[in-house]
Structure formats: C-alpha cells, structure tokens
Symmetry: C2
Subunit: 428 residues, 2 copies
C-alpha cells in the first residue's frame, strides 16, 4: 500500500532567502509615523530603542530584503514548516473542500513569534547591544524572544503582565530555563512601574503598562534595546517567510487557494501570511485574504482608521491604523495575544484599500472548532489560532452549502499546550 | 549558501511495514508467565482483558509481524520521526563526538506512547470491544491511549493516580478534550478503589492501585478491555518502529553508532530502540545498548532477577524479570514514568545475557543536562527522557577524555511541556 502523506514539506534549500516587503507595492502609500504634535517622526527618533538594521527595514522601499546567514541558520532549526492537509478535520466537518493548515507551532517557542524573534535578536547583537527588554502578555512573545536572545548571546528582561504571570506560571519557567529574567509588571524597576504600584499596590497590570516599562528601560540604558513582537513593519517583514512558503507548497500540491486565513491581534501573523500573496491579487488572481479577529476586540471590523498611539501610556509614535482607541480595555478572553486595541499599519492599509477582508469570531465559536480539531487532527490549537481555524470552518461550511467546495488555508500560529487553562475554563 | 539540515528524515514510504519480534532471536528463551502457584499461565487466561491480536503477539515466535494498514495510516500521522543531529548540544558540551536524538516527542501525545496506543486501540476495536480501561501515572500513557481510542472509535476510562492528577491538572484537560473519562484513583467505581477509600479517605493513591482498578473493571465488563503502556512483549513489539527507523537513518547518514541509549521505566521505550539492533550485535558489530534508569528506582542495576508480580496488588501474572519487589515504593521523583519496581521480561532477558547494559542517573544529573539541552537545542525534554540525555552526555564526555570521539544516539521519548512543574521545582 501507499501510505498517505498528509504534509507538504519543502526541502531546507527551498527556504525563502529574502523577506518580502509589501510597502513599495501598496496601492496607497503607507503614511509616516507621527510625533504627538502631528509632525512626521524622524527615523533617528527610533534609534534610542531599535538597531539600525531594523529601522532601515521599518521604512524601506526595497521589495526584497536578504535574510542574513546567521538568521537563516537559526530559522533552519525548524523551518520550512509543513503545510498539512487536514483530512481529519474535513471529515469531522463533513465537507468536500480541501483544508490545509500551515503549522507554525513546531518552532522552538511553539508559535510563529520565533520568526521575528530570531531576526530581531540578530540585528541587536550585530549592533553591539548587550541586552533586550520586552513585554509579554500571553507569553508567546516573551518565550520566543528569550530563546532568540539565548541563541545570539544577549541578556533579556521580560516584563510580564502580573495577572498573566499568575495565570500561566509555566511560561515563566520556560523563559527562566532559557536564561531570561522575568519580572511581574508593574515592577519596582521603572518609574512607570513604581507609579502604578504607588497608585495601587494590588494592580493586576496591563500590556500597555508593561510596554511602558520595557520602553523606559531600553530608552534609559545604552546597552539595552526594546523589542516588539507585532504591529511594526519590520516585524511583518520577518513573518513573510510564512506566506512565501505557503505559495511554494500550494504550487507543489497543484492547488489554487480560495481562502487564506489567519488570526489578527497586532497583525504580524496575518501580515506574514497575506502580504506575499498581494502581488498575485494585484495581478487579478481570485482568492480571499481574511483576518479573523475576536468579537471581544473587533479592531478591524469596527475600529476607526486614523492616527493613534500604539500603547495605553501614549509613549509610542502615532501610527496610521484601525484602532479602538488606546483606552479600550478588551475583556479577558483566553486568546490573550489578540487583545490589542490597534492593528498593524500595513494590515490597516490593506483593509482600507479593499485588498483583504476581516471577520469576527467569538470565543464560543473558536472553542467549538478548537475542540473539533483536537479530536480530529490530534493537535491542540492555541486560543489565538482557534480564531483562524473557526473562520476557516465557517467558510468551508458556507462553500458546502453553496455546492462549491474549494481550497482553504489557515495558519496554525501556535499550539495550545501552554494554554490548557483556556480549555479547562472554556465554554462547553 | 547551503543551509544546514540538522534532521535526517525518512520518506513516508520508508516507514517500517512490520514490527520486529526479538523473542525468536533471544540467546536464552524467555520464560513463560506463571500463575501464583508456579504453573505456566495458559494464554486463554489473558483473554478476559486482552484481544486475540495482542495475545498472539505476546507469545509469538514469528520474527516479523505485519503492521495492519489502519495502524500504519495512524502512525503515518506523525511518523517517521526525525533523527536530529544535536549540533547545539555538542557545542555546549564541548565534545567532538556526534550526538543524535530520535525525536519521539512530535507524536500527537508528545511521547513514544502513541506508537503502541494506536496499535492496541486498533486490535481492541477489531475484536469488537467498545471500551478501554487503563491507568496512568505521569499522564503520558493516558494521553496517548485517549487519542488512540478517539481515533479508532472506542470509549475510554482512565484511572489517574490522585496525587498525579492534582499535580498535573492539564493532563486531565487534554484527555477530557479527546473525549476520555478521567477518574482520580482510588475511585468509587471498583471494589479495590472503595476498599482503599474506606481504609483512608485521603489516600494519595498509587500506580499499583490504579492498575488494580482498571484491570478489575476490564475483567468484569465484556465490552471493556484493559490496556497497558509498557512492560509486556506486545508493547515492546509496537515500539520497534523506533529502532528500525534509527537503523535506516544512521545508514542514510553513513554513521556507525558507538552508543544507543534510552531511558528505562517499564522498558518499552528502551526495548523499542534496542531490540531491532540485536541481530547486528549477535553478528558481532561493536556498539553498546544502554538503559538509563533513575538512581531512585534502580531496577536493572540493583534488582533481583526472578519471577515477580507486575503490580503492587499482585493481580498480574508472575513474570521473569528484574525487580525491586512489588512493595518497593520509589520516591516521588519528577520522572514519574520511570517509577516502576519491575522491568520488561525482554529487557531483563537481554540484560541477563549481557547483550545490553544499564546505568543509573540521579535527578540532579538529569536536570543539569535537561537544562543544557533546553538552552542549546531549544527543546525541553520530558523528565524521563532527560535520564537518557544525561547518560549520553556522560558517555560523550568520557569518550572526549579518552580522545576517542564517537557517535551517540539517544531517544528523546517525550517533550516536557506538560511537566514544567518538574523544572520549576528541580534542583538548581
């Protein structure tokens, strides 16, 4: 007998050698970042917290950016990731559409965050930095950057939102194991943290405050830079390895996609899948790029487009994006990585120009399909990824009703093995 | 540049199509199982709790057993598993030996247990059974059998040692997610459980008692069979896919091994690696097969060879094996999967005839190298697997001292993402 191979692999040598920069191909140019008084932000304003290599990428008009060899070697530890045909899920749903998932959960951190973490750690090391400071909410980003810092020989301090740290103590265990220092935020280390603790010693903390602490530390120490896990252009750039691989893998499988779907929090996962497909879309190929966002934090579907701050403390530059406002407090849904009031400027631009779509998924629907996937594919999706999964299933069922089965691809951005409390308490 | 590929993959079609049965090749025949009065156990005595397909394998003198197609398709969901060159670990240790690990952690359950779980569920389904009953200590086996039961459409009840359930609540979450019923043992479901609770309502339970509960349930219900995750011949048979793949992968890499190492609890992981290498050993090839057992439960290195019971409650047949005695209470080390007083009859036989060796590893050494591996390979080994890792590192350092670098292979039997409490509390 021939054994069914459910995975489409690429050989190592087919790994993307360049990152794809969508900026020069946007139908409407991306607006510049602004200072609080509405002036264009000078690039050198970013130099206090980012290395030159990343600042150059943030504002680049070059279409392709070669991936430096040490980053390529680091990514090769787990990439290319497989594109998996979800035979079990198709059967469980009773659909004749073909469903594929891009399995980013096999990275060292268990999520797509490692793609940019490795790149960011490299450019900071190259620029002579000794330390990184960052924040983490759900813990995926802190884990990924801790591993990347270890790989490239940097020290790292992670400000983890106190309530998240209490809910997910094992995230700290992993980061510590990798050599990272993990502090509950707010902390006594920063002015912002001390002020918050003085106001309320029992405050659970917030992502906005943790960002403020990490940025304050990086801005105040010449040996330390700040690192962000989503939203910014250079972060989306690093994630384009996802979409580039999917293009090659679909070609290998001789498949033309109808839907390409990823979840959306800050936008790096969705942008990493979607932007490499933009040229084909502009050439007139027919398929839909869809962002799945949580109903509890509907930035793209109900937010306002305009200049807004990236953090609650209003320390970041103003960015042209869809936003619910920096004071928006999303409810404590399990998909912590999707609880962000804003959206990446690139994804916002693509949505505004009608090149992509966005739909909301509520927690019950996300959990329903996560459970079906666990029972049919034997893989437990991260709560964030479950939103992409659920929207994919919804579209597959719609196609079935219309009698027009198609090809659907979604990104399994991470596994849920460190988020099992979400499954314990999820709606049944 | 050529990108380094650290993994040796086999194509799907190179998956082993047969299980390898070492019984006919043992230099000294394996003794039969015994009843309590010292008589040979009749095979039909096993029929109350095992299906015919597994009983036939338990006592077979056929060298090769074809893997049924449905089992092959199930294994193909994740097999063949990669053999990974541990470049990072070699560098961290400062050795010139080449170290490889067979990565069994990529299975749906995160451990090698899925190899036999899929086979056992299949044969029970084929024999018309509706339900399985089993016990689990650390939780790896319960997880693997829950997934396999789901795959082949069987109900399952898992008796999980109460203290383990309290320590690892997320194991229950996963098993529930797959549709399994999980009970704290002792439970009110069985005579054995009720008696234990009557004697001490607050008893933490034990693996021996959980086995008694599962066996009692299976023996008393015609629709239900019992399933065991290690020790028995048929379990080791199913695990020989590991060693068979390693043989092919080493040939692909043009490597001749000096050491082949796996951890040892009941013996299925070690047996799965070691037995396919026995023919080469008998032909005179020079390499060492080594079992790594915990210093806290040194069955192979200090136990007595003879007929003994497989469980504390003395419900099982007597088996010819090394044992510390059914009343031996190993301390509560983190490697829960290695806390077993006995050893598989096959591994015991191989050790007695001098074909394999065994060495102990204490918790501090296991943890030390687990940490080094996490920081150099970015993968967190299960506490059980850390024993094999530690012994491998010890041997690599010895070879280095002797100026004779070699080739070492160990089985990473599982990942530690669901055992992070072990890393939280481990010796520093």
């Amino acid at each position: 007998m021939t054994i069914t191979d459910n995975s489409i692999y690429l050989p190592k040598d087919e790994m993307p050698r360049n990152w794809y920069n969508v900026l020069p191909q946007l139908p409407t140019p991306l607006g510049p970042y602004h200072t609080p008084d509405g002036q264009e932000l000078p690039p050198e304003a970013l130099a206090a917290i980012f290395p030159p290599g990343l600042i150059e990428q943030e504002l680049s008009d070059r279409l392709w950016h070669p991936i430096p060899e040490p980053v390529l070697e680091a990514l090769a530890l787990w990439r290319p990731t497989p594109l998996v045909r979800a035979f079990g899920l198709e059967k469980a749903l009773g659909v004749t559409s073909r469903i594929y998932y891009k399995n980013e959960s096999i990275s060292p951190s268990g999520s797509h965050k490692s793609n940019t973490a490795m790149a960011q750690a490299y450019y900071n090391k190259q620029a002579g930095l000794k330390r990184l400071a960052t924040e983490t909410g759900a813990g995926q980003w802190g884990t990924a950057l801790s591993i990347a810092a270890r790989h490239f020989g940097l020290d790292i301090r992670v400000y983890m939102v106190r309530v998240s740290l209490d809910q997910k103590p094992y995230r700290r265990v992993i980061m510590n194991l990798m050599g990272a220092e993990v502090l509950a935020s707010p902390s006594q280390m920063t002015k912002a943290g001390r002020a918050a603790l003085a106001a309320d010693p029992d405050t659970p903390g917030s992502l906005g405050l943790a960002i403020s602490e990490a940025v304050e530390e990086a801005a105040g120490r010449p040996d330390t830079n700040y690192s962000l896990g989503s939203v910014l252009n250079h972060v989306l750039l690093h994630q384009t390895v996802i979409g580039q691989e999917v293009i090659k893998q679909l070609a290998l499988a001789d498949e033309k996609p109808d839907y390409l779907i990823a979840c959306h929090g800050g936008g790096s996962n969705f942008g990493g899948l979607a932007t490499p497909f933009i040229p084909a879309l502009l050439e007139g190929q027919k398929f839909k790029l869809l962002a799945a966002e949580p109903a509890a934090c509907p930035t793209l579907t109900t937010g306002t487009f305009g200049y807004d701050y990236g953090d609650t403390a209003r320390l970041t530059p103003l960015m042209p994006m869809y936003s619910l406002g920096p004071d928006f407090q999303p409810p404590a849904i399990h998909a912590g990585g999707l609880r962000y009031h804003g959206a990446s400027p690139i994804v916002s631009n693509l949505l505004k120009s009608g090149l992509i779509g966005a739909e909301t998924v509520d927690s019950a629907e996300a959990y329903k399909y996560a459970r079906i996937m666990a029972q049919s594919e034997y893989i437990i999706p991260a709560p964030e990824s479950s939103h992409a999964l659920a929207l994919t299933c919804r579209k597959a069922l719609e196609l079935e009703q219309q009698g027009q089965p198609g090809v659907l691809v979604f990104v399994l951005s991470g596994h849920g093995l460190l988020d099992l409390s979400a499954y314990e308490k999820a709606p049944d």
